[in-house]
Symmetry: C2
Subunit: 404 residues, 2 copies
Amino acid sequence: MIKIVIKFGGTSLGSIEKIVAAAKIVKKEHQKGKKIIVVVSAMAGKTNELIKQAQSISKNFNKRELDVLLSSGEQVTSALMSGALNEIGVKTKSWMGWQVPILTEGEYNNSRITNMHVDKINKSLSNKFVAILPGFQGISKNGDVTTIGRGGSDATAVAVAKIFKTDHCDIYTDVEGVYSTDPKKFIKAKKINKISYEEMLEMSSLGAKVMQSSAVQTAMMYDIPLQVRSTFSGKEGTRIFSSENIDYSKIITGVTYSKDDAKITLLGVQDKPGVAADIFEPLGKNSINVDMVIQNISADGKETDLTFTTKRSDLTKTIKLIKEIKSDVKYKSISTDKKVAKISIIGAGMITTPGVTYKMFRALAKEKINILAISTSEIKISVIIKETNTNKAIKKLHSVFNLD
Amino acid sequence: MIKIVIKFGGTSLGSIEKIVAAAKIVKKEHQKGKKIIVVVSAMAGKTNELIKQAQSISKNFNKRELDVLLSSGEQVTSALMSGALNEIGVKTKSWMGWQVPILTEGEYNNSRITNMHVDKINKSLSNKFVAILPGFQGISKNGDVTTIGRGGSDATAVAVAKIFKTDHCDIYTDVEGVYSTDPKKFIKAKKINKISYEEMLEMSSLGAKVMQSSAVQTAMMYDIPLQVRSTFSGKEGTRIFSSENIDYSKIITGVTYSKDDAKITLLGVQDKPGVAADIFEPLGKNSINVDMVIQNISADGKETDLTFTTKRSDLTKTIKLIKEIKSDVKYKSISTDKKVAKISIIGAGMITTPGVTYKMFRALAKEKINILAISTSEIKISVIIKETNTNKAIKKLHSVFNLD
């Protein structure tokens, strides 16, 4: 008998009407004879509302108690989903984190799921009950409530799929799936039917945020087939598998962008071992995330230029820190540009197809778009360009790589 | 070391500001060196909001899941109270129903607390931690979440006081205490400083609803001193003890009234054994609560009149049921009056003071108020009068019995 996880995000459960609609999706699958474990998020906005209440009490709200507070959100949707399924004739039982139990390790507010007890729930599934589990929560070794970080319901769903050995894991959300580029801004964006875990990860971290990255990583590690699909349309979504199972007809799967980057260049940096570490250590210690780093080969063996990007919101702090280490690091000057965008093309197909880089650069050149920095990985090529060129670049690349 | 329970009702926790204010009350008591267990209700309105959500999903919402849903309300206030105490330097720990655990028996939505495990919490109290417990909830023998009926947080507070052997139990609420009559309508109403459990019970059931009756009963059974007081004023409230410990300077403690009664009289009822049972059995089976019953002694041994009162909202249903049994019961006619009120005087002092009844009737007569029915118990005398006479009667009795 097929066993599946169905996970609903907060927007899919944002009102009583939506919960009732989501319950109908579950019933339809249940009627096909599948064993079903439903994982629910809190209602859209609920977790933020609770965090706001906690913060209005204390800027430094007790972390243990924050988890007790936040876990109530999924408790409410679990009970409502269970009641809604019951109302339409489906036998159900909700299981709170401590009832399963869902065991976690790590800090409050940021734990990791390590295991779940499966026997009682498996027995309940065999008796044709649908099991409803709250996402995002579990308990620690000493019996405290824990949560697993924002967006953690995706991680719960994948962990359930892994531990209960389900056939697949369906993530129901408010989008139709993963798109070849941002569908809100580019009408030629196309829904991707199949994508590899690796590609999905590159898409996620670049802004096509349909699913939490660490949940995709877990699915990749244990080869759990995922599907991201809309709660509202009934259409097939995007299936996410191991790349071995995908037959690539297209070299490039998607074009993504981010517009909240800033570029910093240190000119005339001494070219000696340890310089890069001296520069990036204070940034790391101050929680500044450095994204792309490009260092040119030094022409004379003495000096070089170092370019990197950070979040635009971190720019002022970054410059301050860089100036503080000038006496140690020694560089001639700093040049910054905060009106930049990062454009990336992603595709597992590029591993076996030469000339993708060239084709990308040529396409941008044709549009007279200057490339300020380049970074490549096995399945992704990113370039930094002027922010004003963003739309032009995306349209061109989407077309050149046959995604329109 | 003194050990106490401090219970806050929903209106005392109705906003973040109120939770912070309530935490300050706890801190003040904690600084006196007391061991403190705080019991919290859900935020005012929260339980009704959750019930409304459940009912909009199903008129017959799954009872097990309703308890999972409703228990989230006290979970939220427990965590917020714990965080608020922490913020002002008090060490705290919240304990959910399953963490204590609070053991219950009985049906979902209407369980009874049977026991709690005390060791871990007692240890925590010895380490100067304040323990925060959610009211209204527990777990069943098979590990399901259960709730103990509306207003159940009072019952939790008294059960905690009993099981943890605390010195007393303070109920913080939105009123200053128990009054000699309704303070919202009669400016001469006075706060009662001391009252016996028995008097408090008569007051509660008659509408001076400051505390759940069954919680007062439990306190009476185990002789747990209670205090009902305001979260907002800082003033002493009403202490509730065993009547043995009260020195009565007044015969009457309070005057109460209810205006939602209706009076029904069956005229010419056959005076034979079993008639009363024949009449009241169908009412009981249809969940109609009969309050006062007065049967006159039959003059001729053949026929009598039977008067009783019910809730006004049950009047139509009651008449219908009475008409249905006419062929069995045989009575001449029905007379009803829904514009009646019940006025009661309550006082443990009346047990040892003769003439209270006479004094009450004489006072009403002086105001030309006709008494339609009378019912007496050891510490209470109730009369049914025309509703329009309510205020006049209360003012007169309040004055005659030296309560002004």
